[in-house]
Every structure is written in structure tokens, then in C-alpha cells.
Subunit: 257 residues, 2 copies
DNA sequence: CCAATCAACCATACACCGTATGGTTGATCA
DNA sequence: TGATCAACCATACGGTGTATGGTTGATTGG
């Protein structure tokens, strides 16, 4: 229930070079840290999915025993929290002073790209203990929208909408059997085999598969920009309406005074 | 790799009443089925989250041993697939002939409501082996949009956008610490305690928390309708443009011929 | 210089998990 | 009456997270 793990020696204060041997050791095997453990966990997850991150595997990779890991880390959940914050830190945070629409566009694209690189992070996203990178990212986003004149409620609307969409899209994207190029590829034959069965029970699905999804040029990833543009247009409208009604109020005030 | 588990005696063909005792037994303990196991798994997950669904617990609840469960079910993944399809079967499928916009509106609301009732289903959603209920739902949705005159590409755009949003929103919603009434409630004090720390490092976040999220009337769930309406407006625009350009082509054709 | 401290690591053990393998029943039916 | 087979079971293996209670060996204050 302590609010922070007592990670102890967080910075590697060098052991004052007691002996040449000690120096050699410190040089070869870099010290174990929460940060290093988390970084390694991210690598493991990237390579083999989230279920291949275990305390035992992590410990082995760090050349210590499983229980020694608990000196640096509070629990496995602590590691998962750290992993998610690493992912957020890879996203481009909006720059203060940027034009809001391009800032949101780039934020969305960057988020999607990072989540595509670390698909396991999407399921971790439900986790409720944001790290500093996560909070900083949110803070910067709010800042840009506020600077553009958005009211707080509209900021809430816009961020809920954008974040829901991006996160949901990233999730859908991982569900589909995509090859590296982004189109359907290898899974096509499997699907074609089921085509006949589907045509009977699910004619619309079958037609959509045949005439759209399985077509050579189609790549699900391209759907992202359509939705994103549409959403930004809608937010832009809402923002304009908000500004106009405020202007109208001011004008009314002025003519009344 | 068999495409269906050999579920064997799926219907409970009654054992021709060999003895009164046998009849009593059949009456008291209803037969174990894949379907029953899946239903029970759903109940377990509703009560204690997805991690409280284990083969051993399930078996105990069914009054059999863990390994006996494998007679009715191929694997645990098989059960998870079944659970997801149960969830989809609880959603209102769009009625053929319905007006597209209200059909999509209701589909989105129904989906959100069902996912809120079974939060564990959101993480299962990434699973790639849709059951019949899932496929039927998709098929009906495509059908409604096609009937309204949507081109296949626009159907793809619309569904990607709507499904991403709804799923993403459902996910965000489970992340937040909500009480039954839907507003922030119990977690407020915890958050307030961190307020001061936040105000320094994350001023915009702190302001948003103070002036919007922690305000008495605020409930995150209300953000849903804003985004949904905005998205449907955007799709409606795209649809109108598509129809208009088609009309123009026809007119041009007619005047040319 | 020596004793105390303490960061860092370790061994053992427990209670879970999914499932491979290979039985054992008891009713049904040719 | 003997074979079949749906349904269930016992044992075991290799994994998981982590509670408990050591053991080191370098750093320090007295």
C-alpha cells in the first residue's frame, strides 16, 4: 500500500572504485534498476507478446533470481504500469503554441503508430495508474486546446472523442490478420475457403469481403484517416459555433452598454 | 485443428428413464454442456472479472473435475470465444428496413450498454474467431447501410469509424473509477489529495480536474452522445455527397445521351 | 579498526494455473 | 452377452506470482 516502491539506489552511485576487479564488474554488467527491468520487459513483450513477460524470464534475462527482482520492483503490476508509461513516452507530445488541428492530427497519428509498434500496450491501456509520461502527454494536449480558445467542456468532448477513436481503431487494427505491408495477404485463402459457407448465412458480410476487403488495393489501415478527418471537422465546427456564440454575446453586451 | 469441438451429446436425449433414481438425478443436476459452461463462465466473469474464470473453478461449479471439462470444450480459448459470442448475442442487432441513422444510433448505444455490463468482454474483443452472433450482427449492420444506398467503401468507412469509437469509448469508460451512478464519487478524495502535486507539474490537467471532471454534475458517460452525434453527422454528410455526385453523373449521362 | 548498517541478492515454498496422457465407469444397442 | 461409447476421472508436468526469511559484502560512524 506504499505509494511508491522503495527502489532504493535509483542512480548508480559508483562504488568509489575499491578495486580494479569491482570496476571491471560494474563495467561489464550494468546495474539492475526498475527502469532497466521495465525496458527489458518492453523488449520481451515486443518480441513475444505480453504473455511472454514473466517475473522469472525477466529475472533470468537480468542474471538474477526471480525474488531479487522484487528488490527493485513492487510487483508485476508495477512493471506493467512502467511499460505503459514507456509507451506513452514514445509518443510525440503536442507542442505548446501549435495550431490545434494539426497538433491533434499528429497526436492521433503518433499514438496509432506507437500502439501499432507495441500492440500489447492496448490491452494495458485500461490500467489505472498513469505514469509521468502519460500525465504529461495529457497535460500538453489540454494546453493546446485551451490556448486555441476551447472551453473546458469542449476540451472534454474533443479529447474523449479523439482518444476513444484512436484507441478503438488501434484495437481493431490488431484484431485483423495483417501482414507487414498492411493488406490482408496470407489469411486470404483461409477466408476464401469459408466464403461459400458465409454467402449463405451472411450474404452482406460475404459481399463486403469479396468486393472490398479482399480486393488487392484494400488496406484496413487506410480507414484511419477518413475517421480522423471527419472527427476533426466535427470538432472544428463545434469550436467555431462556440466562438461565434461568445462573439455574439460580446457584441450584444457592447450594444447594450 | 478440428474446426469444431466434438461436443458430442449436445441435446440432452433423456436416458429413457431406466430407474426412478436415474430420473431423479437427471432432474436435479442438469447436464453439462459447452453452452452451460460458457454461460457459467460469463457469470463468473461478471462477478469477479475475467481473471476469476479458470478451468478449475468452472469445473468445480459444474460439479465435475477439471479434466472432465475438456470433454465438452476444446480449450480455455474455446470458452473465451464462446463468452464473447454470448456478449454479442445480447446486443440489439439492427433491423433490416430501419432508417440507417437511428439503426446505427441504437446499435452504438446497445453495444456500449452491453459492454458496460460485461467489462471483461472489451479485452476479449481482440480475439479473432467470431461466433455466429458476432457475424450475424455485422451482417445486419452492413445490410442496413447498403439498403440506405451506401457504397461499399463508405460502408467500410462508416463501420470502422463507429466501431472504433464505441469500442474505444467503452474501454475508456472502464478505466475510470466510477460508481454506479456514473459520476466520480468515491475516488474524489484520493484525487483531491494529489491535486497540489498535480497543479505544479500538470497545471492544465489540474485545472480540468478541478473545473470539469470533479464538478458535481459531471459524468464521463455523458460524453458518449456528443461523439456519437458528431460522427453520425459526419457520415450523413459523406453519404449525401456520395448520393449527390451519383445523381450528377446520371444527369450528365442523360443530357449527354 | 571494528561493529553496525544496509543495498542487493538468494533459496525455499505455497497456491494457483492450463492441459497432456491414459484410465474408469455405466448405460446403450447389435 | 459383449462391444461400444459418452462422460467422467486421477495423476502429473511445467509454468505462474509472490510470501517468508535468509545471506552476502561493501560502506560507514564511533
Amino acid at each position: 500500500m506504499a505509494e511508491r516502491p522503495k527502489t532504493g539506489g535509483e542512480m548508480a552511485r559508483e562504488p568509489s572504485e575499491t578495486a580494479a576487479a569491482a570496476a571491471a564488474v560494474t563495467a561489464t554488467r550494468e546495474p539492475v534498476t526498475r527502469e532497466r527491468a521495465v525496458r527489458l520487459a518492453v523488449e520481451l513483450a515486443d518480441a513475444g507478446g505480453i504473455e511472454s513477460v514473466s517475473m522469472r524470464k525477466l529475472a533470468t534475462e537480468l542474471s538474477i533470481t526471480p525474488m531479487s527482482l522484487y528488490y527493485h520492483v513492487k510487483s508485476k503490476d508495477d512493471i506493467l504500469d512502467g511499460m505503459l508509461d514507456v509507451v506513452y513516452s514514445e509518443m510525440d507530445a503536442p507542442q505548446l503554441g501549435a495550431e490545434w488541428r494539426t497538433a491533434m492530427l499528429e497526436r492521433a497519428r503518433s499514438t496509432r503508430a506507437v500502439l501499432a509498434r507495441h500492440p500489447w500496450a492496448i490491452s494495458l491501456d485500461a490500467r489505472t495508474s498513469p505514469g509521468p509520461a502519460t500525465l504529461g502527454h495529457l497535460d500538453a494536449t489540454i494546453g493546446v486546446l485551451r490556448a486555441a480558445g476551447f472551453s473546458m467542456p469542449l476540451v472534454g468532448h474533443a479529447m474523449s472523442l479523439l482518444d476513444s477513436y484512436v484507441q478503438g481503431f488501434a484495437m481493431q487494427e490488431t484484431t485483423l490478420p495483417l501482414d507487414a505491408s498492411g493488406d490482408i495477404g496470407a489469411a486470404t485463402e483461409d477466408i476464401m475457403a469459408q466464403q461459400e459457407m458465409m454467402s449463405n448465412a451472411f450474404p452482406n458480410l460475404a459481399e463486403m469481403a469479396g468486393t472490398l476487403i479482399l480486393q488487392p488495393g484494400y488496406a484496413y489501415g487506410n480507414e484511419f484517416e477518413f475517421g480522423l478527418g471527419l472527427i476533426l471537422d466535427g470538432i472544428e465546427n463545434a469550436h467555431r459555433e462556440e466562438v461565434e456564440s461568445a462573439d455574439a454575446a460580446v457584441t450584444a453586451d457592447a450594444s447594450a452598454g
